[in-house]
Amino acid sequence: MMKTNHDNRIRKTGMGAKASRRLGNTIVYVILVLITAIWLFPFFGLVLESFRVETAMQQSYLWPKEFGWDNYIRLFKETDFMLWFKNTAIMGVATAVLQTFFVLSMSYVLSRLRFKGRKGLMNLMLILGMFPGFLTMILIYKVFTDLGLTMAMAPVGLIIVYCASSGMGYYVSKGFFDTIPKSLDEAARVDGATRWQVFYKVIMPLSKPIVIYTILMGFMAPWGDFMLASYIIHENSAGMNVAVGVFEWMSKTMVNENYTMFCAAGVVVALPVTLVFLMLQKYYVEGVTGGAVKG
């Protein structure tokens, strides 16, 4: 008797499954379309409003009454935006190169090599990470001022700030290195390779996703940073990055003249970064899913 019961149950679920799955999928599609709309809405709005000519003020309608390039022309001709953009781009490239070097050496060592003090080092960095990093700026700003690395020279100072301590962000790439089988190292070592050769000839070729992920992260950091940048820049237009420069436009006193220009600036900034990001998306996903979880 039990057997037939069991069979019935299977048959029942088997028959209902198709219909219920179809229903389920429809619901999921509806939700996904909704999500897509919610997630893309601000970006459509941003692009549309950047082309609005009739008024620079914020409006409660989305579709411009008159399309034109006025905001972009104003952006490049009347403001220091080009300079800020250049500053940020330089910072992005330099940070990408240096930070990748720092992060990868750190994470490789902590993942693959065993030496005295390794655990201690990791604990130290864990503890250091618990301090609000912003506070280090009090001293760094003072020292950089004496060295002339703030204000107009802020991009140089900021590159140093972004890169110097970047070794502490080793977690994701360490997680990635952890997943590469140790037997590879051992085989190479048995064949007489030095550790440098193992690193250079065995591990690095296997680590393309994480290298690209790290480069990508380094490149994106200066575009989004406001906190550290605003401290080092100290309201000097020549040294600003885009975030600090554009932030002022949205303040209560200035927003009415600059709202549409902000939208234009947003589009100009978002476009290249998004393109680079979407091109390298595959590696980003691999980095996050491979490294972050296991790290």
Binding site: W39, F102, M130, L135, M168
Partner: protein
Amino acid sequence: MDEMGIVSRKDIVYHRRQCPFDFIRGFVYRLLPVRMIMKRLNDLEYLKLNKLQVLLYNLKLFFCAILPQFFKNIGLSILNFFKNCGLWVKNEVVDIVTTFTKGNWAVKLSFLFFGFGNFYYGQILRGILFLVFEIIFIGYMLIPSGGLYWLAKSNFLQTGKTVGTIQGRFEYNELYDTDVWVQGDDSVKVMLYALLTIIFIIAFIYTWRLQVKQCRICMDITAKGKKVKSGKDDMKSLLDDQFHKTLLSLPLFGIMAFTVLPIIYMVLVAFTSYDAAHDGYSNLFSWVGLEHFNELMDFGKGGLGLAFGEILSWTLMWAFFATFTNYFLGMFVAIMINKKGIKIKKFWRTVLVMTIAIPQFVSLLYVAKLFDSAGIIGKLLGQVPFVSEYLTSNNFISLWDSPIVAKVLVIIINIWVGIPYIMLMATGILMNIPQDLYESSRIDGASAWQQYSKITLPYMMFVMGPYLLTSFVGNLNNFNVIYLLTTGNPLNTDIGTAGGVSVGHTDLLITWLYKMTLNSPESKYYLASLIGILVFVVVAVLSLIVYNVMPSTRNEEDYG
């Protein structure tokens, strides 16, 4: 079979998974010693309890067994730490003394002059490096305006005394016939140099110990009749056995110079009176000891204690909601996209990932304006009768003016920001869950919800536990989202100004800190430092608890 009162092994496993508090039982098995404080139930007795009893039992277990055990463990590890320290010191002293007594003249000489032992045993390169280090150190300490000079000037940690001794001042100058600024000490610099000197002294002691130890090693090696490493070997091993030193040197230097040193400095600042009025240059600041810690006890209006308490509680609340809403909703989205039969998976994913790419200041500043009174969404919501009544009755112009609405909005917008990250991560994990788990559960007649709550969720929890903690800590210090959306507003009239800045309802500790140092004319650096230390304490305590209670204490050797 159930009627007969016999429960099969499979049923037990199934039932045991069902209780939401079961993970607590798991820890107890791990943590508790044989001697119990309360009566423990065995599996069968435990299964007979109903849901409420299970809850009570587990709560009792938590307070009677786990918490005491937790504190006992902490106490034990502190004790152990001191014991180990004592042992270490003893071993060091014994080793140093035996090295001295057993060593030949060169080894004995190297106790005073670095590197002589190395020279004697043929390690010329190391010997030279040690000797040069010693000469530099002694030179630096003794030259005028060298180490000793700065140490003396700084009055290090002497409460009531100024950092630096000469106050800069205006003095009449006959040449210009007016008052001219005569430069004095700069407290900031004096303190920095003093700190560097102390670090140098510690490095000196460490190096001294290092070369004594190396003499000992050389003694042992030659006693065995083997050859010691030459300078050439040393250079080679930097790419091989000592490869970690090569790779770590630059990153570690960066961390030491730009994180460790500033943090120690910052901790010291909390014991001084460093602010805009005492900026060290025009006015020396001084050591004040624990004075500022008393200010934290001020719970009156505008008092530091009140402000800190309020901001901390919102910070914790924010971090909690920001982390968990993102986590569950992100996972939900990932599950939907990965559902069997859903097409164009890549498209849905790309849409979400795009929002990661766009710099936050663009998207957040724009979204904040959308919800403003003139913005599209803000205007639309303002026309809803219930909302407009609420706004007008409170004299709020936009949604951002209401403390509660602002807080909710910040959390909701943060969901918009955070879901894509979690979605990506969860996708990776979802693909790793063995599919046969789902198949066998389906054959057993599990519904989709059961599959989710019994298979997917526990698996995710297990793997992403550590990530949850890091993202919680990250949210505690999530400057961008708060500052770009609200800059901490609306203002909190109950607190007023604290620490020289007016405190807002959505201010986190980190934005408060930021305003205190950058937006306030008083720039109370000492207060910022103090609060930074407190943030550290909060984060450290939370992490300690979570690490001790989390189920997935992963073994990093598990992979590969």
